[in-house]
């Protein structure tokens, strides 16, 4: 048997629906149809009345989730694409994210964001907007990179008493496979050493972890031992694990698929520069997408986002210093 990242997300939701009567799913086409990506396939049948089609009203979808959370439920909202969450943005950042702090009443909702680039996705079906959510106080922002994490982090997210922005990478949906679902996992909030090394730390998250790992494999043939840190969660951000890795390697490259200005990579580098300054023996570097909308044509797209090759090139520059 082999389980994809997408299967893992479906299974985690099935698990949550089974285990917790407070859970329901609301999103466009998530019901009988099973969702645009099939992440809720058959769930409407298996859990009647608990997996419901929403109108094309992202603002109201999130508002409804907040109300249901106030009433003690644990809604999971599927955005059809992360890019469309911009029209539900206000309810996420100003309604859901402020509720607990203002009232002491918690707001356990999950907003699932199918995000990230795929070939031919173009400017409005490819965005990586985790940073805009991480910037606002009151949200937990998760970015699983593996099948196992997609499963375990989504299950854990349901138990979190706060709004969780769950960023699922569309490129990994069918691309990434595992043999079985995990029975244990690192807790949310902890980064993972995805590969051990001593010459350079590459910090990445979501799909970029795999580009980093591929680059590390390539660089290994050149004699370099690259450590790869998978952040798993971008807010909170596990600064300790990152800094401990940098302490071992002395060098840092941070890779993100998002736009450069104020992205995860800026935040990571700022933290390491402030808190782990003495550990670095070369300038920390970032590798991000270009600062333009995400292009449609694959030729442009592969140049726009960091690839294993680009990661390896950036890493070599640091290593040769």
């Amino acid at each position: 048997m082999s389980i994809t990242y997408l299967d893992a997300i479906r299974e985690a939701q099935a698990h949550a629906l089974r285990a917790d009567p407070r859970v329901f799913i609301y999103g466009q086409d998530v019901g009988a149809f099973g969702g645009a990506f099939k992440a809720t396939k058959n769930l409407a049948v298996e859990f009647p009345g608990r997996v419901l089609d929403a109108p094309i009203s992202e603002d109201a979808m999130i508002g409804l989730a907040v109300g249901a959370a106030i009433e003690g439920l644990r809604p999971i909202i599927e955005m059809q694409f992360a890019d469309f969450s911009t029209v539900g943005f206000n309810q996420i950042v100003n309604q859901a994210a402020t509720l607990f702090w203002r009232t002491n009443v918690s707001c356990p909702i999950i907003v699932r964001l199918p995000f990230g680039g795929t070939s031919g996705g173009g400017p409005f079906h490819s965005q990586c907007i985790e940073a805009i959510y991480a910037h606002y106080p009151g949200l937990v922002v998760l970015t699983p990179a593996t099948v196992e994490d997609a499963y375990s982090m989504l299950i854990e997210a349901v138990a979190i008493d706060d709004p969780v922005i769950f960023c699922e990478h569309k490129f990994l949906y069918r691309h990434l496979k595992a043999e079985k679902l995990p029975s244990e996992a690192l807790p949310v909030g902890k980064a993972r050493i995805a590969r051990v090394g001593r010459d350079l730390t590459i910090v990445a998250y979501s799909a970029m972890v795999h580009e980093a790992l591929e680059a590390a494999t390539e660089l290994a043939t050149e004699g370099w031992q690259i450590e790869v840190v998978d952040l798993r969660s971008v807010k909170p951000l596990d600064t300790d694990t990152v800094i401990a890795s940098v302490a071992r390697t002395g060098k840092l490259l941070c890779v993100g698929e998002a736009w450069p200005w104020g992205g995860v990579t800026a935040e990571v580098i700022a933290r390491v520069a402030s808190e782990g300054y003495g550990l670095l023996d070369a300038p920390p570097q970032r590798l991000n997408a270009k600062d333009t909308p995400v292009p449609y044509h694959p030729n442009l797209w592969t140049a726009h986002r960091p690839t294993a090759r680009a990661v390896a090139t950036a890493a070599r520059k640091i290593l040769r210093q």
């Binding site: 203002r102 009151g138 949200l139």
Partner: protein, 342 residues
């Protein structure tokens, strides 16, 4: 015989029509005097930020509040002191929030009209207009899912806020889900300074209902008895399972947008029209005329209420302000997931 009620009842079950009118009137009075107090405190420089009052809109607001049961849901807006009181919000919650007391429901973190207690069904508004309606939907949706039946939810709105996408999405959502939502729109003809002619182009906002497939009600918002009758009907319809109800009340606000504003933009013709009547005065005349209360009784209530408000203010003014050093500065409930980094 005069009916006297020592404490106004905040309960949709309030026996007779006259009893409900009386109860609602007393919340109107309380709200007016409370608002007057906040305005005075504002002028005295005792309030941080703005003061937003509901002068002229108390009949609608009180009628809304008394039409609800305590187990219902209410998302008031900035001009809803009366409805809040009728729904059960204690005066002291309002005072504490305006003065930023650490003991208030918002603990000094949020202020003025942004108060509520979600646990009691009183939702604390965020400022973004229209945003609370779908939250009411969510509570109603969840109750249905949990098998709790019989409760309804009200969201208040100004006519200006009907121009928001949030209003539209939420009303449509309620209609699709057939939720027991009552959307109460106070058409006071101005959104801050903006007249209706720059806000919408339909003849009557109540006409919007048909496009959503929801119930529709229009009412003279200066007339308490009319407001009560309309709200009772709308709430009853929703409670009976007839789906969302849109209530549009015509009225004027008899104050500025906030206490910083002299509202000089309001058309004098409108002020002189029947819309410009003071609903509190109208209600008092009505109660006296219908022999539900007499002038002496009204005067007693007024002075009692003033005392009650002064007492609350006096208490709150001695209460501790929030202490920034005691503040944990953590925006999430899952403390273990809080960012330690600054």
């Amino acid at each position: 015989m005069l009916q006297t009620v020592s404490e106004p009842r905040a309960d949709g079950a309030a026996g007779s029509v006259a009893g409900a009118q009386l109860a609602a009137y007393r919340f109107m009075l309380k709200a007016r005097l409370l608002d007057d107090k906040f305005a005075a405190l504002y002028r005295a420089g005792k309030i941080h930020g703005g003061v937003f009052i509901g002068k002229g809109q108390e009949a609608l607001s009180a009628a809304t509040g008394v039409s609800l049961k305590k187990t219902d849901v209410f998302a008031p807006l900035i001009r809803d002191a009366a409805g809040r009181l009728a729904f059960g919000e204690p005066i002291i919650d309002a005072v504490r929030t305006y003065l930023g007391s650490a003991l208030g429901p918002m603990r000094g973190r949020d202020g003025n009209v942004h108060r509520g207690r979600p646990q009691t069904g009183l939702l604390p508004m965020i400022s973004h207009l229209g945003a609370m309606i779908s939250v009411v939907n969510g509570v109603l949706f969840a109750r249905r899912m949990k098998g709790i039946s019989g409760s309804v939810g009200v969201a208040s709105l100004g006519e200006g806020a009907t121009s928001t996408g949030a209003f539209h999405e939420a009303l449509n959502q309620a209609a699709v889900e057939k939720l027991p939502l009552i959307l109460v729109v106070a058409n006071n003809h101005y959104a801050y300074s903006t007249p209706n002619s720059r806000q919408f182009a339909c003849a009557d906002l109540a006409e919007k209902a048909v496009g959503y497939g929801v119930g529709s009600h229009s009412v003279d918002g200066t007339d308490l008895a009319a407001c009560l009758a309309t709200l009772t009907e709308a709430v009853g319809n929703a409670r009976a399972g007839h789906g969302p109800q849109l209530v549009v009340a015509n009225l004027l606000r008899l104050c500025g947008h906030g206490e910083h504003d002299d509202a000089s933009y309001i058309d004098p013709k409108l002020k002189k029209s029947p819309l410009g009547r003071d609903c509190l005065k109208v209600a008092e005349d009505f109660l006296v005329e219908e022999k539900i209360a007499d002038a002496a009784q009204l005067a007693v209530w007024r002075s009692e209420t003033i005392r009650e408000i002064e007492d609350a203010v006096a208490i709150v003014q001695r209460e501790p302000a929030p202490d920034p050093f005691a503040e944990k500065w953590c925006a999430i409930a899952s403390v273990h997931l809080g960012e330690t980094h600054e």
